[in-house]
Amino acid sequence: MTAVRTPTLAAAKLVFQRDMTLAWRRWDEVAQPLMFYVVVTTMFPLATTPDLSALREIGGGVVWVAALLASLLALEALFRADVEDGTTEQWVLSGQPLGYLLLAKVAAHWVLTGLPLVIMSPIVGTGLGLPTSVWGVLMASLLLGTGTLSILGGIGAALTVGVRRGSVLLSLLVLPLAMPLLIFGSRAVSMQMDGDSPAGPLQLLAAIFFMALSLGPIAMSAAIRISVEN
């Protein structure tokens, strides 16, 4: 038997598939952030006012804050199980570039938690009085925002994986970095609503996303290597 070395792309695909398979068997855990998102945004009209024109003013911001917190909710456990059972150790030793494997894992995480938030956002937004004309911008901004947040959160989760009760630390690490996303994201929605072109904030969001995408894997693999030293 002569072994054929797995191409890096195929290896990344295996990591992605594995997380999908695992999520399918633990779907209740995966659904948690989405539930949180829907519940929080539904509570706003109850606690403030059912007047749609008043809700419309804050709607974009509420959707964005809820999405941000919902994504953060799922991040803490991102690498924990894999580090504890020794899987990441084997990834480090697989001879594959670790950054790509971790990026594949983060991509799976985004598809499972970030993408549902994006897809749900028009429904949730309608409940807050957002007109159909902003759906496109809302979804585009959340698409870029949740993607960036998954990568930033991945770096934070990789750094805090060895820390007991790392969730507070993780929030402290990631939330300040996520502030620009929140500002540009909700600004894009409100500009669209006011009839201005939202291109500026959206382009900034895209720029941040590509920066995270290119530098994130390097930071994540460095952090994971430190975490498996113990």
Binding site: R5, T6, Q17, Q90, V92, L93, S94, E229
Partner: protein, 210 residues
């Protein structure tokens, strides 16, 4: 597995755990066909040494050479030829035995269903192939981890207490696998008990002292 000239050498390894100087100038070399058994009392640094070899722990000083060249800066190449079985079995309880191999061993080498089945058969758990790893016994989990090691098709095996949780038949299996591996020109380094492969001709010892 290509092992021509595949000599592994460690030169004057020094490593600390916290403020304890655990490995002091450890030097050794392993050639194809040799099984190096690292022995010594608990806490003497057997696991530390193996983790340093794998690059999971940084050595303070010293050098590791593979095929005559330092592994520094060529870790991915070296790792591809290195098969590691640690304390942890690296299994996912929610995945079946077959899936565990497909998703973890598959990262290194391209696998077919036949190779996976043949390997499960070799370690004696073919009939458990479609059970979730969670439901396997501790010994069967260890056998599954051994299957992963075999599928890696690596030249250099690093084994940390490979017979943990195994029954007599399992221990014999590990001995067979190691002998088979080194007879085909492989190298193996293991932290293990005194009696593992005690009278095998391929055996060399490295005694760590506190």
């Amino acid at each position: 597995m290509v092992v021509d000239g595949a000599v592994f050498e460690a030169r004057e390894i020094n490593a600390w755990r916290g403020d304890r100087h655990i490995l002091r100038d450890v030097s050794f070399s392993v050639r194809p066909g040799e099984f190096l058994k690292v022995t010594g009392p608990n806490g003497v640094g057997k696991t530390t040494l193996l983790r340093v070899i794998c690059g999971l722990l940084p050595a303070e000083t010293g050098e590791l050479l593979w095929r005559g060249k330092s592994v520094r800066g060529r870790r991915d190449e070296f790792n591809f030829e290195l098969g590691h079985l640690g304390h942890l079995n690296s299994l996912k309880g929610d995945l079946t035995a077959r899936e565990n191999l497909k998703f973890l061993a598959g990262l290194r080498t391209t696998l077919t269903a036949q190779t996976i089945d043949a390997t499960l058969d070799r370690v004696g758990i073919l009939s458990r192939g479609d059970l979730p790893a969670r439901s396997l016994s501790a010994g069967q989990k260890r056998r599954l981890a051994l299957a992963r090691l075999l599928l890696a098709d690596a030249a250099l095996w690093i084994l940390d207490e490979p017979v943990t949780n195994l029954d007599i038949a399992g221990i014999r299996l590990v001995e067979e696998l190691i002998v088979d591996h080194v007879e085909h020109g492989g190298l193996a380094i293991a932290a293990a008990h005194q009696w593992l492969l005690d009278d095998a001709p391929c055996l060399r010892r490295l005694e760590l002292e506190p």
